[in-house]
């Protein structure tokens, strides 16, 4: 690296000589811009080859029939894959389930996360330690914890059943293999993992509120719930929006936990989009899998667009209300 920079040094010297003469501050010489593009190029090339190209490849594949176990018969079939999906009631079921899942878990996690953030927003000794401990679930792999949770919900030796049995006097139950409880069990695990994520980010937002503001609120005797609804939430609204957005997208994409804990079962009670897409792969319909993958991408974009649009309207009407 040092040899290249030595080698180009005379040219760079000439370039930087012109900097003080530049008429506007912040104006960039052509040389600088060229260097900037050169520095950006390796990263962009890697992303084009490894992200954009695969996506385009998937796009092309979605118009083909391409059986995994018999690649020789691969050929273009137009919109057939998409038509097949739209005719498949399990496809619509998985889309409905995914949207329901995303809305429910994100709402629960936002509410619980906010409460948890308030609880941790304290100036006690060891508060930093508590914050470090509570975030551990976010950093553990969904596979390791998904399997551990399966053990916890195990019908005979599981901890959850022992608590339900001795604590509440209810019968032991096979949580993950009944279709009325499998989805809610999955939700419990997802909320366990991601509520701390929401809490920690909201907490960081709360702590960026300037002491003058919270002091003024205290002097005005604004306390408790009023303090949080009137002062905190409006101030950290941008942070709240970012958290909702990240969680929405990640919930729609969910694969690991869903796959590890239920594989979409029992029946199709927890068959969400990404896992359903995987089962199409297992059946060997590569074209169909690519088509569904693309529809998931579109679904994410639609939900994000709706979210941002509603947000924009709400902000606008709030501003109008303020003006009146």
């Amino acid at each position: 690296m040092s040899t290249t920079s030595q080698g180009t040094r005379p040219a760079k010297l000439a370039g930087s000589d012109s900097v003080p003469k530049s008429p506007r501050p912040g104006a960039v010489s052509r040389q600088t811009r060229r260097t900037a593009y050169l520095m950006l190029a390796p990263c962009v090339i890697v992303l084009i080859v490894l992200a954009i190209y695969p996506m385009a490849f998937s796009g092309v594949l979605s118009f083909k029939v391409d059986p995994l176990y018999n690649p020789n018969v691969a050929r273009f079939i137009g919109w057939r894959n998409f038509e097949d999906l739209f005719d498949d009631f399990r496809f619509w079921q998985s889309i409905r389930l995914t949207v329901l899942w995303a809305l429910l878990v994100v709402s629960i996690q936002m509410v619980l996360g906010f409460l948890l953030a308030i609880l941790l927003d304290r100036k006690m000794r060891g508060a930093g330690l508590l914050r470090s401990l509570i975030i551990i679930p976010v950093f553990v792999s969904p596979v390791a914890m998904g399997l551990t949770w399966r053990f916890i919900f195990e019908p005979v030796a599981g901890l959850a059943n022992w608590i339900v049995n001795t604590g509440l006097g209810l019968e032991k139950y096979s949580w993950l293999s009944h279709k009325d409880t499998a989805l809610s069990t999955l939700m419990i695990v997802d909320c366990w993992q991601w509520t701390p994520f929401v809490a920690l980010i909201l907490l960081a937002g709360m702590q960026s509120i300037s002491p003058e503001i919270s002091e003024a609120a205290r002097l005005d005797r604004i306390r408790g719930a009023t303090y949080y609804t009137r002062i905190v939430i409006p101030l950290i609204r941008p942070v709240i929006m970012v958290v909702i957005l990240i969680r929405l997208v990640d919930s729609i994409r969910i694969f690991d936990l869903n796959f590890i804990m239920t594989k979409g079962g029992p029946g199709s009670a927890t068959l969400m989009a990404s896992v359903y897409d995987y089962t199409i792969f297992e059946q060997g319909h590569l074209g169909l899998m690519a088509a569904y993958g693309f529809l998931i991408l579109i679904l994410i974009n639609i939900i994000v667009a709706i979210f941002l649009n509603t947000l924009y309207r709400a902000e606008k009407s709030a501003r109008v209300a303020d003006a009146n």
Partner: protein
């Protein structure tokens, strides 16, 4: 600060909530040192058992977990290094060099982070198949590089934007080249940001499952996929599973304490500091 009794009560509540929240993590650690008979008993045992290392021995002897550990370390370590080498100049270019549409470049790169894995895993599978790279560390290194890069560029950019501009301007007046400015001036100042970015990049790939599931089956499997092999249709070895899970989790607990106050910033993609 004046502590009211209500305040003290809330402090205690906070401690209790955090303790309850971590029960599953404690449970997996406890299970990993319990004898199998006690693990499978209908009544859970909390402390009255003789700790055993049988599951740790089994996960290495029978499931060859050390191979998965090495695969995880190599693929995640090497890809993190490549990501950082590619991301640093790119992040600097979009943050500081007055690139036209620098923010748009940065946002477009970030948007790739939200791509569903199932959309790209099939092309990866086909490409790896075509190059004979199925079940190789190289395939995972390449994929994890692509997978980590968008986040790394975005978050590094946010750290670089925090640095004072004056140092670089002085450097330019002294006639340093851009590369010299980055390596001699920026690198030392941005060290915490670079470390945080590298750790996050490492974590995401360390826990990654879908790509490893598609691209490896035996020689190159990483820990998340290897863990799942303790479970087959008829028999679940909860003890071995827990031992493997603990081995996979331990570095992450270290990571949490290393990242400290930077955690929220990384998780929120730079939206909070």
């Amino acid at each position: 600060m004046h502590q009211t009794s209500l305040g003290r009560l809330i402090n205690v509540l906070a401690i209790i909530v955090v303790a309850l929240w971590l029960i599953p993590v404690a449970w997996v650690a406890l299970t990993s040192i319990k004898p199998t008979k006690i693990i499978n008993a209908p009544e859970p045992t909390f402390y009255s058992f003789t700790p055993t290392d049988e599951h740790y021995i089994e996960i290495f002897d029978r499931f060859m977990f050390h191979r998965a550990m090495i695969n995880s370390l190599v693929t995640v370590g090497v890809s993190t290094l490549i990501v950082m080498i590619l991301a640093l100049p790119a992040a600097y270019a979009v943050a500081r060099m007055g690139l036209m549409g620098g923010d748009i470049w940065a946002l477009s790169i970030l948007s790739l982070r939200f791509m569903p894995g199932v959309v790209v895993v099939l092309p990866y599978f086909k490409m790896a198949n075509g190059f004979g790279l199925i079940d190789s560390q190289l395939a995972l290194i390449i994929v994890y590089t692509a997978f980590g890069l968008p986040f790394a560029v975005w978050i590094l950019r946010s750290f670089l934007l925090d640095l004072p501009k004056e140092v670089e301007e002085a450097g330019r007046l002294d006639g340093l080249s851009w590369m010299q400015i980055i390596f001699r001036l920026i690198l030392p100042m941005a060290r915490p940001g670079i470390a945080v970015t590298a750790i996050f990049t490492f974590v995401f790939s360390w826990n990654e499952y879908l790509f490893s599931l598609f691209l490896t089956y035996d020689k190159a499997t990483t820990m998340p996929v290897a863990l799942q092999k303790t479970i087959d249709l008829y028999n679940v070895l909860w003890g071995s599973l827990s031992a493997g899970a603990v081995i996979q989790l331990l570095p992450m607990i270290l990571v949490v304490f290393l990242l400290q106050q930077h955690i929220a910033r990384g998780l929120a993609l730079g939206a909070v500091k």
